[in-house]
Symmetry: C2
Subunit: 187 residues, 2 copies
């Protein structure tokens, strides 16, 4: 079921990923589907977990290296599926993705390793996640519009002349510097 | 027309803000509407500019104060309209909001004042904007689901026990520290 839901997402986008549509694709009644997923949020959470699985590859590195690697893996995972950033953002807000919770825990560990006070390490991790989600949602919107042949001005988006990967890495380094600066006595 | 479009957004959300629906509300033909807005992206950009107008209040302060104030004003503006964060994110990606361009320019100025190299000040500004958009999209999804009576787990979202304004400010300070650390010789 999650395979088929992910396929629907990739083929038609998040707007067409509905319980009704999925039931039709699976040749089951909507009622049968609700037996597996209590509501649409639970379905989206399961698809978010599927999307995020490649981002859960273990990283052995210092805290800076772990944050850099997790951010890169998260971006790659989101860009690998149509509307991936939007779907994972929604599931993150709803607290319905186990994989997103795990990524947040790993970033929290890394922030704690950097010396951020325990009470603030989770906030630092969220700051990183919001940046990655915001950046990637912008990048993905742009890529999908370009693929659809939309004519857009070039001034404002993340996809300018530079490699978006380079732009993305700049923000990650800025966040790492901010985390490094948050010694306990400063909080 | 932008008044009515903003009203539609507030009453029904971004999914119901379509050219067809707006034409019906205005008692004009869809063709007449396309005479004013070349496409839906242009309509969304005009609504984004309307939403962001309060965030353009001038701020006189040092660069840290300007970034803090702009972020706070941007968050307040996004939260003041249904799906405000999602709509402005989409317009930002499409490069269709004049007000978003102006906010980005002001943040770029602030980053340059902090000593970030000219080639990187715009990237630092975008990092801040992506954080604000990511944080506020999460906060707003949660607020709207709560208003709709959805039962969500509390673990993962931005609206935990703490004041979301305090959590938001933590990330802004982290970004400011990261910008302060980006002296030209480090880039």
């Amino acid at each position: 079921m999650v395979d088929k839901a992910t396929q629907l997402l990739d083929d038609y986008g998040i707007a067409d990923l509905t319980m009704r549509r999925l039931a039709r694709e699976l040749n089951v009644t909507p009622g049968a589907l609700y037996w597996h997923f209590a509501d649409k949020q639970e379905l989206l959470g399961a698809v978010a977990d599927r999307i995020l699985t490649p981002a859960l590859a273990e990283v052995v590195a210092d805290w800076q290296g772990r944050i850099t690697a997790i951010c890169g893996q998260l971006r790659d995972a989101l860009l690998s599926h149509t509307d991936g950033a939007e779907l994972v953002s929604a599931s993150f807000a709803a607290g319905r993705s186990t994989a997103a919770t795990e990524l947040l825990a790993r970033l929290t560990d890394a922030a704690a390793s950097a010396g951020v006070a325990p009470a603030h390490a989770g906030l630092a991790a969220r700051t990183v996640v919001y940046y990655v989600l915001g950046f990637t949602a912008d990048e993905q919107s742009r890529l999908q519009w370009d693929a659809a042949g939309a004519a857009l001005s070039d001034g404002q988006s993340v996809l300018g002349d530079d490699d978006p990967g380079v732009r993305f890495a700049f923000g990650v380094r800025l966040l790492i510097d901010g985390i490094a600066a948050r010694q306990p006595q400063r909080l």
